[in-house]
């Protein structure tokens, strides 16, 4: 049994805005959400990259203490967007708690902020006999903290999937949620990812010489996917959530339908844990197209992973060209907000929906001079008004994990 899966609500917290209107405004006007890295009193002074995709506006929460007590910053993000998609989808409480709704939600590594507090407790123990880890610290910091704080807050009793595959975290969430509904295991899945402000991740990429450092004084000019001047990725923060529902159920209850998920693929390069792999990425793209039962020439928009690293962009451009040729428009949305890690797949999927709804493709920001090794594909360098019927969101993670998610505009 294969069932159709539709997206009935979405919500995000991004460095370029909260609402659809704010995000579209940033895309149309070329506004970057990359800002100067904040001093954190621990790692920031040792990090060469001084830029971060920052959520610098207030996000208001009205969670009761009963829920707040097990939440670190990343769970606040997750529960807020989850709350908004449950509300926007219009699912009633009886359904939410029925077991027919599951959750697929993850983050890169839980809450690093809370983990730092735990380590402070460890290292401070010799001076304080009753210092110990707080009862809730694990619940706040554990890697599946986003998913289970969502289930707790809303009484969700269906299956729980909590991917933690860094850059592919939330594209896996949506993909595995889609499969759970498609094959009849759940009737709806709340899917997404979140990552909080965290310098640990910046330090990791910085040590690998993968972070942007040449634009520390002009943060808005980096990252620069596919550009000759690109010098690495920019880590960011954010959250994104979508509600997936079985098409027949959504139609019956008159739910809003924003797009249909028609294909998903996930594979592994089967080798190196860091280097991008042309064959692995091409295979992911091909499996996704096969799952969606469409031909490559039907694709209108490619939301590329496009982190702005030297090699990653070249390999991805080659993979896109080998499978799609130079027809579909290609945009690297991380150029606007940096790499929001565990939330990037969901945020990029949500923005792809917005572009479908608005009928244009946003240009890749900071793409002033295309690297000739990336030039064989159809880069969007200025806003292009065109209908977008089918879009794909590509994400690739440390560990050699690749995903391809394909969505289609509702007809």
């Amino acid at each position: 049994m294969e069932r159709r899966v539709v997206i009935t609500a979405c919500s995000s917290i991004t460095p370029i805005g909260r609402t659809k209107e704010e995000i579209i405004h940033s895309l149309v006007n070329g506004i970057s959400g990359v800002k100067t890295l904040r001093e954190d009193g621990l790692l920031s002074s040792h990090i060469h990259s001084k830029v971060f995709g920052t959520v610098d506006y207030p996000v208001s929460y009205d969670f009761k203490r009963q829920h707040r007590k097990t939440m670190g910053p990343v769970a606040y993000y997750a529960c807020q967007v989850a709350k908004e998609v449950i509300g926007a989808a219009g699912l009633d409480q009886g359904f939410v708690t029925s077991g027919r709704l599951g959750v697929a939600f993850g983050s890169t590594h839980g809450s690093p902020t809370v983990q730092r507090d735990i380590y402070r407790t460890f290292f401070g123990a010799s001076q304080n006999d009753f210092s110990t880890i707080g009862a809730v610290d694990y619940l706040k910091s554990m890697v599946h903290t986003t998913a289970v704080n969502i289930t707790k807050m809303f009484g969700i009793t269906g299956r729980v999937i909590s991917s933690c595959t860094a850059c592919t975290t939330s594209s896996q969430s949506i993909g595995y949620g889609y499969e759970a509904i498609k094959y009849g295991m759940q009737d709806a899945m709340l899917c997404g990812g979140a990552d909080e402000y965290d310098t640990t991740t910046v330090a990791v990429f910085d040590n690998l010489l993968a972070c942007s450092t040449a634009f520390n004084d002009t943060p808005h000019l980096t990252p620069r996917p596919f550009d000759t001047m690109r010098d690495g990725l920019v880590v960011g923060e954010g959250a994104g959530a979508v509600m997936l529902e079985e098409y027949g159920y959504a139609r019956k209850r008159g739910a809003p339908m924003l797009a249909e998920v028609i294909g998903f693929a996930c594979n592994n390069n089967g080798g190196d844990l860091i280097l991008p792999n042309l064959n692995g990425i091409k295979e992911t793209i091909r499996i996704g197209l096969k799952d969606a039962r469409i031909n490559a020439d039907e694709m209108d928009l490619i939301s590329a992973h496009a982190t702005g690293t030297k090699m990653g962009d070249v390999i991805e451009a080659q993979a896109i060209y080998d499978v799609y040729g130079n027809l579909p428009g290609v945009v690297g949305l991380k150029s606007y907000m940096g790499h929001t890690m565990g939330s990037c797949g969901a945020i990029e999927a949500i923005i792809a929906i917005y572009l479908m709804e608005e009928g244009f493709i946003a240009p890749t920001l900071n793409l002033d001079e295309i690297d000739e090794r990336c030039a064989m594909i159809n880069h969007v360098v200025k806003l292009r008004e065109q209908p977008v019927r089918i879009a794909t969101i590509q994400n690739f993670a440390f560990g050699g994990v690749n995903t391809s998610l394909i969505i289609k505009k509702m007809s």
Binding site: R65, Q66, D129, F130, A135, L139
Partner: protein, 94 residues
């Protein structure tokens, strides 16, 4: 510490840490105020800070059946009978 001082301290904890305002001294904290096992562990940490010493595993386990503010006060009184508050404890500090 007198019984009244303990009650004052505990009610302060409940208001500040658990956002539970003026619970009845014999209220079932779980049923009436949603005070759960996580909160109980957090409360034990507060009690340790109040007394100025670390509780043993056995002493902590004895607290797991506590359901009311009065039972919390009984528990603290029983602890202070065998081990008085140490000078580094936060008893009296609200």
């Amino acid at each position: 510490m007198t019984r009244d001082e303990i009650i004052t301290q505990i009610l302060h904890f409940f208001r500040k840490e658990f956002e539970i305002e003026n619970p009845g001294l014999d209220d079932n904290l779980r049923e009436k105020h949603g005070f759960d096992s996580i909160d109980a562990i957090e409360l034990l940490l507060k009690i340790e800070k109040m007394l100025g010493y670390e509780l043993t595993q056995e002493e902590k386990k004895q607290a797991m059946d506590i359901r009311t503010i009065n039972q919390i006060c009984d528990y603290i009184e029983s602890l202070t009978r065998t081990r008085p508050v140490l000078s580094g404890g936060e008893a009296g500090l609200t």
